[in-house]
Symmetry: C2
Subunit: 257 residues, 2 copies
Amino acid sequence: MPSFIPPSHPRYESLMTREKLVEGFRAGIVVPEGLIAHGRGEAFDYILGETSRDFAIEAAKVAAAMMLAARRPVISVNGNAAALAAEKLAELSRVTGAPLEVNLFHWSRERADRIKKWLERFDCEVLAEGDAEIEGIEHCRRIVDSRGILVADVVLVALEDGDRCEVLRRVGKKVIAIDLNPLSRTAQMADVTVVDNVTRAIPNIVKFAREMKELSREELEEIFKGYDNGKILKRALEAIREYLTSKSLEASRFQRS
Amino acid sequence: MPSFIPPSHPRYESLMTREKLVEGFRAGIVVPEGLIAHGRGEAFDYILGETSRDFAIEAAKVAAAMMLAARRPVISVNGNAAALAAEKLAELSRVTGAPLEVNLFHWSRERADRIKKWLERFDCEVLAEGDAEIEGIEHCRRIVDSRGILVADVVLVALEDGDRCEVLRRVGKKVIAIDLNPLSRTAQMADVTVVDNVTRAIPNIVKFAREMKELSREELEEIFKGYDNGKILKRALEAIREYLTSKSLEASRFQRS
């Protein structure tokens, strides 16, 4: 059902981004539930001002240092992340040496293979065997690759939902999450939470990883040693509150009598 | 791609509601963009506490009075509203005497007819001719029914996006909006904004309409005379800020060291 969105539409930008995800949906990369999840993200992005805030940039730097210092880092990718940031995820993989691993809540062999091919167009290693399981997770996300998440020490999860973050931590892994909702379980449970849109967060992490590529493990550890994720999440919530206050003042100025 | 969601999942309720919309999607009622829009709503509902707040109940009462006092009220329904609240919308139509009118951003003859049939299962009058246009709107939402929105004095729009609200007001109509985002243009431009989930807002309006059905026009006007939508929107924003503050305190209590 193609439909023309006029550039004069007040939500043109946002609607065009939607179209990008809908494209991924038509290609069989994104599931219907993923479209809804994207909408949730849109709303949080909106009340964060749709820009990379200082707390997101700080967390991105720590994330980059942690990935570079890791022995076996892995980047966990779902359908939405692939549709929105495939090229940048591939770049992050090359810079940090962390393979991409396809990990899906709504898993099927066909879909996993489709996403693998979608990502491989951008010159990167993609794991999607699904030949191992992580205990403690009931749904499809338990299915992992024996060369990837199963043996990883640091896992970056882009656009994660639910309880997997908790389980990954329980089995001793460090988790870096990209999540626009600072109140989500994933955001709260991760070691490092980048509260930002994945389309901005990944390029930020890539930039920092490039800058720090030559640092020693000690120098890298220095960067994430004193990091406090709780403070970062608090600042994100504070930013939302301030944004809503400023909007509220604006709105009352425009209110008609 | 059917997938089992275990009841132990922390977002079970929310995911089951999603499934309902996905069902509407599979039936050709909801478009992919509608799934994303629903996700935005979900996020705002979440930070409003997922309940009908006092400001939403006050606005619902005013909305009911305004519809009962109107000469030609109409209820504008899109695909998401039909998927989530068809039965309740039909009930509201019967109580207030306002016909339902199918009005779509992503319009096609087939989709409009499909939604008309979907609604008619619940014993109500549904307009979907699309034989007239409202000037000043570029996209498909300009297409209206000559017996409905075109000649209406009060239009209730459930789950509206964008600029149509503004145009409807410009051509002299009163607009009642149901919108979970108190900062949206629709919310800001409407005469009455019910900041609530459509699944709760419609039953609330139905309840008030039943209670006030026998009131005279003068008595009804008394109810909405002093109404100030700006104050309602301010209270909604205030509620979100308070909710985030309380969540922030909770979160810091759970933060691990």
